[in-house]
Amino acid sequence: MKTTVITDQEREKALATIKKPEVIERQKLNVRYHVEDFDVSDRPRRFLEAFAAILKHSNYKMVLDHFIRMTARCSRCAVACHIYQATGDPKDIPCYRSGLLLDVYRRHFTLGGMVRGRVTGAGYLTDEKIEEMADSFYNCTACRRCALECPLGLDHGLITHLGRYILSEIGIVPRALVVSVRAQLEGPYHNTSAVPVPALKDTLEFLEDDMFEEKSVRIKFPTDVEGSDYVFFAPVSDYLMEADTLMGIASVFAATGDSWTIGTEDFDAINYGLFYNDRIMERVIKKVDSETRRLNGKRVLIGECGHASRTAKNFLPTFCGGSDSLPVMNILEYTHKVWKEGKLKLNPDVVTEKVAYHDPCNLARNRWIVNQPREVLRSFCRNYVEMTPKGEDNICCGGGGGTVSIDEIRPYRTTIGGKLKADQIRKSGCEILVAPCANCKKQLRELVEDQGLNCRVVGFHDLIYKAIEFDDSLKVEQEEGVDQVKNGQGRPSDGEGK
């Protein structure tokens, strides 16, 4: 699928910066996102020191050596990149972007590069090059679609990941990300949105009441239940904005009767470390592990969130015990499993609109979760349509790699980043777009608004909640239920797991 290059007017709007000139001057950094003040002195030296430290204690050297030995610059990745397709700017070609960092590595960390650099006196890392990297690595959404198209297997998403990691070590990181992480790691409430536990519990009780009114079933959000099969971590934004998603998930557990719980010490799945710093990622993932172990849970269950799922699935074994680490499951896998076992009844007459499914890159790119949600959706959405390309080859929503959290670049995200996705959505003609990822949902809703698309963006479990039907044995007469609530029997106690 291809899109057209944006007009000059759109370019101007998308690339406009809202930063004040004095801030740019003070930070000596002209990028569109806000950055907290940092030490601007001797930046190239500090960049190289950070690079050296990271190389020493990581496996990145292996991959950088492999890439610089054979990069062929064929530009096949250009056609796979949604950013380049929208801008037509050669600086947005993934291979060019990776070249920025590979050139630094070649020049400063290989013998040939150092000798050539000494002889020619060229290629030194400069402030201008750092600024270009700071801009370029946050234009990329790290969706890794280009890696599929590279005949030599260069993973440009990994280079973006490493580039951001090094930049963050010298203080160049979007403020939106670092503020959230600070709240999660150092704040009193241990989550990125600083939601206090009493507020969380209030929200859950409110949702339980809502579900009882709508479904006549006492569906619970168990908290701090020890020994549960699943310890559930949702992106904390779901508790603020995605009530239907949460109610859908709780409904699935109500139908299956499996034990699950939400830990109140750490309940946020979000791990922005994936977007800018491995050390941060390690610290956040360890919190997920320790909370699950505190509750003596058997599995980590991640809600509708692509990056959090990938982080937990891929890096919990890395940082928390290798093959002895806790098993990780995404909620889509769980729902698909219980649906296959015949534990879910989904009414096919409820969702009649044209429904399409958007693959979050972090779930689909490695073919982890592709067919499972589709099988479930097809079973009860009569009017299900596919967008192409899909699955492993899906098109990024335009807000990947943490860029969706950077509100000041919204015009960039919806004019450039999401242009190809918008074309794809328009072409599908869907009325409901299912996106099982908090970041994708936010970006797609902004895209719908800014690009004037005629569809509604929902989570996967939002539709499950609409269509799910319960056995009569689970149903409670409304009045009886209300009486029970009045008598203190209707609401689940926090200690109940089932």
Partner: protein, 231 residues
């Protein structure tokens, strides 16, 4: 010129071949050794072998990839690579030289096939060169060595084609044959030191990619300490 040709076909060829083989063996060893070390250090040693094998095979036999954009570039590149590998190795005249130089031989390609493969390789090299020159995305990325290699690879094909198929004077034949052999020697000599190293490294790319995301555990404190030492 005859003695020069003899030298280029004999000792120089063997020297260049040896440099190529040793050079490729060196980078392959370094690559795999680093991959092994990365695997040893990784906190999570579970590798997605099915995905690795599947993606490696997809690129080893890129039939599925041809239909994708950019089609012309994909087709030209694939057919160019086929000619580039098959013609030098399976041409009847080359097999005699291989036998003379390294003492082994194998079945040859029929002459007509070799002829058409040579022509197609030259044509597709020209297509790739034109694309590098005139397609904006490829042109903007191209370095000197990308043009140099396409031109260098064309030399032995053009000279070999002319010598084998056209009626030319003996003097010109000897000159073109010398260019043919010397350019072939130069290609062998340069392979391990340039992007053409992908001829041995590319099959391992999917393993390297998968390993790249297998981080060592507990490096947080170590990196902080190293950075602190710099200050």
């Amino acid at each position: 010129m005859e003695s020069l040709l003899h030298f280029a076909r004999g000792p120089l060829f063997r020297f260049c071949l040896m440099i190529m083989l040793l050079g490729l063996a060196r980078i392959l060893f370094l690559d795999l050794w680093e991959a092994y070390r990365a695997y040893r250090r990784a906190g999570d040693k579970k590798m997605p072998w099915r995905l690795i094998v599947r993606r490696s095979l997809e690129w080893a036999f890129p039939v599925k990839r041809v239909s994708r954009n950019p089609q012309l570039y994909s087709i030209a590149s694939i057919l160019f690579h086929i000619g580039l590998i098959v013609v030098p190795v399976f041409l009847f005249a080359h097999i005699g030289l291989w036998k003379k130089a390294v003492g082994i031989s194998w079945p040859a390609l029929p002459f007509r096939w070799a002829l058409w493969l040579t022509i197609s390789t030259m044509c597709f090299a020209a297509v790739l060169l034109i694309e590098r020159l005139f397609v904006k995305s490829i042109h903007s990325l191209s370095r000197g060595q990308d043009y140099f290699w396409l031109v260098l690879l064309l030399f032995p094909f053009i000279t070999g084609f002319v010598c084998a198929n056209l009626n030319i004077s003996a003097g010109l034949y000897r000159f073109l044959m010398l260019v043919h052999v010397l350019s072939g020697d130069l290609i062998f000599l340069l392979i391990p030191f340039t992007k053409i190293a992908h001829c041995v490294l590319a099959p391992f790319s999917q393993i390297v990619d998968a390993l790249a995301w297998k981080f060592p555990p507990a490096t947080d404190q170590e990196i902080v300490e190293t950075l602190y030492r710099f200050k």
